[in-house]
Amino acid sequence: MLFAFLWQQLQATRVGYSVGKAQQELKSQRDRNAYLRMELERLSSPERLESYARERLGMAPPTPESLVFLGSAVQRPDDSRMVSLLVR
């Protein structure tokens, strides 16, 4: 009886240790994550993306003229005649 109780206490302390370790690990990983998320936001900020796209990739911002809009047929796929056209 006594041994069983002592054994239980020992196990509780042992598990308590690992929970404490895990919590510390969690906290430090969360902090790290916050830093990395920040880095991600900073790297994907429009200012950086724009200069990267412009200078490194040679891209240019689209103008309204460079967009091609498909006709109303594509915008309204629920129309039965359109559907039959597409099926064919």
């Binding site: 509780a12 302390t13 308590g16 240790y17 929970v19 404490g20 370790k21 919590q23 510390q24 902090d31 790290r32 916050a34 830093y35 998320r37 920040m38 936001e41 900073r42 900020s45 429009p46 200012e47 724009e50 911002p61 689209p62 103008t63 309204p64 003229e65 460079s66 967009l67 809009f69 006709g71 109303s72 047929a73 309204r76 129309d79 039965s80 005649r81 359109m82």
Partner: protein, 596 residues
Amino acid sequence: MRQALRLQICAAICLLPAVPVAGRLVLLQVVRHAGLQSKVQSRTERAALEIIPRGRILDREGRILAQSLPAWSSTVDCDLLQDPESAARRLAGALGMPLAVVREKLASGRRSVWLKRKMSYEETARLRKLKLPAVAIVPDEQRAYPNGDLARPVLGAVRLDGGGASGLEFEFNRALSGRSRKVELTRDVAGEPIVLEDPAAAAAPAPSNLRLSLDRNIQFFADSAIREAVLEYRAKRGMVLIQDPSNGELLAMASFPADPMKNAAVQDVYEPGSTFKIVMAAAALESKAVAAEERIDCENGRWELTPSVAIKDHEPMGPSTLPEIVQHSSNIGSGKIGLRLGPKSFLRYCRLFGFGYKTGLPFPAESAGLLEIPGGDEGRTDPVRLANAAFGQGLAVTPLQLVGAYSAVANGGELLEPRLVLGLESEAPRPPLKLRRVFTPETAASLKAMLELVVQKGTGVTAQIPGYRVAGKTGTAQKLDPATGKYSPTDYISSFAGFAPVGAPKFTILVVVDSPQGKHYGSEVAGPVFAKLARQMLALRGIPPELPLPLAPARSRGRSVADAIPSGAATVPAKRKSPPASRPSLPRPSLLKSGG
């Protein structure tokens, strides 16, 4: 018998060593219990400081505009330092601080000094490696803005202690505020924590995040456009506001120079100049003060209102209709209509548009503007002040008020509550709030037509965008020179307010450039900025053109495709909802011609 005695002596000898042990136990557990217990507790149960970070500020899509990062601050206990010189050298190396600064801190004479506040993750790790017992590291937090200066005047700043100092950080300080709390922990001899309770019960409450109506990309366009314009014209400052006229949400709010302590678009006022003529025109149409075809004499560019005050026009005009007056931005025509409306009626419409009052935007130190015509509310007419007010001089508005007025025109006459904050992330979003109807949809349609004419062939041609119908108004206001109390001959405020596409307006843009040098007309300075932003918005939102693109005959411009097509044409749906024709295609140019 002897045997039994021998056994007892043996047992007594065996138990003898237990006596002092028992005595010691009694001494420790009973006699000195309280003192020892507290000694143990002070070693094992330590309160740890836990920081619950300040909430994030997000854009409308949930992209981070402001975030708190865990940071650490370090203090040093100078009494515990054995070798200050070598410690200073090692600390300076680990923290990247000048050696002289560290030395000075350690020699300050106080026992405890802040070594460095808001240290980064890496700095803290390096400091921990030094294992200096005199140095204590405490958790802290640091506010970070991943997009740099983007929207900084809107976001504001936080103080060193973490409280909001200006902008939204200040206004929503309570909701955003992070807290620090003490957590009781049991630790072993080495200081490792042992968790003996349910960790879920001790879980930290999450901070609330603030979601704005701003769109990070659109804000970026606005920030860059106004920065470029201010630098190009060596102007004093500039503001850009972009609003969705259907729900009042502000998509961008930019000012340059970007000062986190001041948001010019909400807190500053300016004389609106001709962009304010929209109020005069709305009042004239609503109160039917001017008949549709009526011509008002614009005096060929010079009108002596009183013997000492003459009003001049940029473009001299003869008798003109209201649309022509707006189109060519005639001050004389506007002044005459203002006088005809009378001060009471004019002021009433100004107030209906919300001028002279705060919009109630949740932002610190919003300005109400300045709407004053002496004696106007009693019906006494000060002709000079009234005529001036009709073309936007002698009164002051905030950019926020003006963009709201143009949104009212764009959405058919309803003044909406401007919205910058959609709410806390945890709350359900609030629907847009209609403040009041300022004018009828018919008046709105006439105003739209006038503003479209301004861009087609009036003062606003620089705001044209091929393929789209754009409506807007230029403004070139003279600035009061504070030194002389008179209007400056060199300093102007150039502005442009407008919206697109006219058929179904998706955005209202206001551009204000204060004191541009070299050029000063709203059409030259602010018009191109408007066009640039509008083109970016159209491309970003993928808004299809309303008009046949530049290949089509020029005379169909200014008319929507639907208007230009005869209603009986076989390949064109008669109503919007009817099924599309068997061969869906854009209308052929020949059809357009027959319609025009």
